[in-house]
Subunit: 342 residues, 2 copies
C-alpha cells in the first residue's frame, strides 16, 4: 500500500447517472476540495455526455495511474474501458455488462496493488448484469468475491452523523428472519468494530444492537428472537471486549439524543437500517464496505435511469463518497504505519 491519495472511480451502469455525477463532481473539484480521482470509463461516452449536457470537462486519457493525481487539477483523468455498444441514457444494454464488470475488477486491481488509495464505485444495474450471466447478489458481494475466498464484506452506511450496519440485506423480510442468526450478528459486529477502528480511527467503537421486534419484543410477548438470537450475540461481542449495548427497541434508537450514545447501529433488517439513514440523509448518504482488504465507498443511491442524461441528478452522495474514501484510506494508512512502526 502506497500513500498515493488517488482514488479509483468505476464506471457503474453507463445508462445511469454515474457518468454525469462524475463530470459534475470534477467540475466542482475546487469548491468541494475533492481528493484527486481517476475514472475507469469510456472516454468517448464521457465526452459525448459532457457535450450533451454542455459541461466543459477536458479529459486526461491515461494508460496507467502515473501522473493522474497531478493531471486532476486541469483535466479529468480516465483509464479507458471501451464500451461494446454506445450507452443510451435510461436504457441499459446487456452487451455492455462485460465492461461494467471489468471496470470494477480493474478498480480492485488498482487498490490491491496500491496504485490507488481507495475504490469508489458508481451504481450498477443488476438486472442488465444478470441477463449477461452475472451471478452475485450485488455489487458488494462481487467485490467480496474479487477480494478473495475468506472475505466477508459488511455494508455500513453513513450520513448525517449516523452509521448503520444491516445484518441481513438483500432478501425479503421473510427470508431475513430465517437468515438472522447469532453467528451472523456476531460476525457483522466483529467486522464493524474492527472497521471503525481501522478505517474510522475510533479507538473504542460503541456498538448499539437493534432488537428485531416492536418494542424489542415487549418482554417476549411479541417474538423471541431478542432472547434467543440477539442477546447471545451481544454477550459474545462483550466477552470479546467490544463496547456493545442492546437489544434496543428499534424505534427509540435513531433520534438525535439516542444517536449520541453509539458509533454504529447494528440492524437486523435492511430497512431498519436504511429507513433512518435515508430519512436523515437522503441525498448525502455514503455506502462503505467493511471487511475488504481495501477501502471501498459508493454513493447511497441507484442508477436513477429516469434521471440519466438530464443533468438534474444530485452529485452530493458521490461527493460524500469521494471525501469519505479519502478520509478512510488516510486513517487505514496511518494506523497500519503506526502498527508497522511499533
Amino acid at each position: 500500500v502506497t500513500g498515493a491519495p488517488l482514488l479509483a472511480v468505476t464506471m457503474g451502469e453507463p445508462a445511469g447517472i454515474g457518468g454525469e455525477l462524475v463530470l459534475q463532481a470534477w467540475i466542482g473539484r475546487r469548491s468541494r476540495a475533492l481528493p484527486p480521482f481517476v475514472v475507469l470509463d469510456d472516454p468517448e461516452r464521457l465526452e459525448s455526455l459532457a457535450r450533451g449536457l454542455g459541461f466543459a470537462v477536458p479529459l486526461a486519457v491515461c494508460s496507467d495511474t502515473a501522473g493522474a493525481a497531478e493531471a486532476f487539477e486541469r483535466a479529468l483523468p480516465v483509464l479507458p474501458m471501451p464500451l461494446a455498444v454506445p450507452a443510451r441514457a435510461g436504457r441499459p444494454d446487456p452487451a455492455n455488462a462485460r465492461v461494467v464488470l471489468a471496470s470494477i475488477a480493474r478498480g480492485v486491481e488498482l487498490v490491491r496493488s496500491g496504485a490507488c488509495a481507495a475504490l469508489v464505485t458508481n451504481p450498477i444495474n443488476k438486472s442488465a448484469l444478470y441477463q449477461a450471466g452475472f451471478d452475485h447478489p450485488g455489487h458488494t458481494e462481487y467485490l467480496g468475491a474479487l477480494a478473495g475466498p475468506d472475505c466477508r464484506p459488511v455494508m455500513l452506511l453513513e450520513g448525517a452523523g449516523l452509521r448503520v450496519v444491516p445484518v441481513t440485506i438483500h432478501v425479503s423480510v421473510r427470508q431475513a428472519l430465517d437468515q438472522l442468526t447469532t453467528e451472523a450478528i456476531l460476525s457483522c459486529g466483529r467486522i464493524a468494530a474492527a472497521g471503525l477502528i481501522s478505517d474510522f480511527g475510533i479507538d473504542r467503537p460503541r456498538l448499539a444492537v437493534a432488537a428485531l421486534n416492536p418494542h424489542g419484543g415487549e418482554g417476549g410477548a411479541w417474538g423471541d428472537e431478542e432472547a434467543r438470537i440477539i442477546l447471545p450475540a451481544i454477550e459474545a461481542l462483550r466477552a470479546e471486549g467490544i463496547a456493545v449495548t442492546g437489544p434496543h427497541p428499534p424505534d427509540a434508537m435513531f433520534h438525535a439524543a439516542a444517536r449520541k450514545g453509539y458509533d454504529v447501529a447494528l440492524c437486523m433488517l435492511h430497512d431498519q437500517a436504511l429507513i433512518p439513514l435515508k430519512t436523515l440523509a437522503f441525498e448525502s448518504g455514503v455506502n462503505i464496505t467493511l471487511g475488504l482488504p481495501f477501502v471501498r465507498t459508493s454513493p447511497d443511491h441507484g442508477t436513477a435511469l429516469d434521471l440519466a442524461g438530464t443533468g438534474r441528478a444530485d452529485p452530493s452522495s458521490l461527493v460524500a463518497a469521494l471525501h469519505t474514501a479519502a478520509r478512510l484510506a488516510a486513517n487505514r494508512l496511518r494506523l497500519s504505519a503506526a502498527a508497522a512502526a511499533s
Copy 2:
C-alpha cells in the same frame, strides 16, 4: 356532540409519568395556549405529586364537567377517580388496575355524551393491567371495545409534519407477516382516508402505501408480498376514489422531499412507521386513533417508570396531544355541522 372545547385527560398508569406531565402542562397552559381540559384522576395523588415536585397547582375538584372549562384558567379541574392504594413512582400496583381502566371508561362516556370534545389518554402499563385480568392487546383496542362491536380503531402517529399508519402493530415481525392481508391494508386505508377528511380537514387525502420488502421487493426477487398482497389493496383503494400511490420502497419515502408527496404513509410493519416518526419527532409525536366515534389522542411515549417522580420527563408530547385533540375535534365538529346544514 356539543361545541364544548373541554378535553378529557385520563389518569394512565399512576406509577408512571402521566400525572407529572399533566401538572407541567397545566402550569404552562398560558404560554402554550392550551385548550382547557379536565383530568380523570385521584386528587390526593395529584396533590402529593405536586407537593413532592414543588409545583404550585391548585386543583378544582368537580363532580361533573359543568364549569370545568371556566375553572381551568385558575385551577386544574379534576373529576375524582380514587386509587385503591397510594401510587408509588416507578412501581405499578395491580391493585390500582381497576381505577386505571375506570378512568378510561369514564373518559369515553364523557366524549360519547358530548360533555367533552375529545379524549386524551396518558400511557398505561400493560403488564400491571394483565395481572389484574385485562385482556385487550393494548389501549387502542380497549377503546375500540368500549366504543362498540363494529369499531375498528386505526393508529395514526403524527409528528414533524409526518403522518404514519402501521397496518400491523403489536405483534412480532414474523406474526406481522402472517397478519398482512389485502383486506387489512384496504381497511386501514379506508379508515385513514376517512379520518384525514373528518378530523384533519383534508379534502382529498393522499395516501402513500409502503412496500414490505427492501427496495419494494426488487421486482419480485426479494419477496412477492408487493404483487400478491399490497398492489391489490392499492388498486381497490384507487377504485374507491382514494388518491393512493405505491408500493414505495420503504427507505425512500420518508425524507423531506418525499414527505411532501403524501398526507399519510400506510406502513406494513410497526417499526416501518415508528422508526421514521420517532427519528424525526421523538419528543413531540402524537398518537391519534382513527375509526372511533370520538377524537382520541395520546402522547407517543410510554409510562417511563424510570423517570416517574423526578420531574424530568418532557411534557412536549402530551402538550402536542392536547393541541392535536382540540384541533381534530374542531375539524370534526365543523364538518359534521356543515353536513347537517346541507
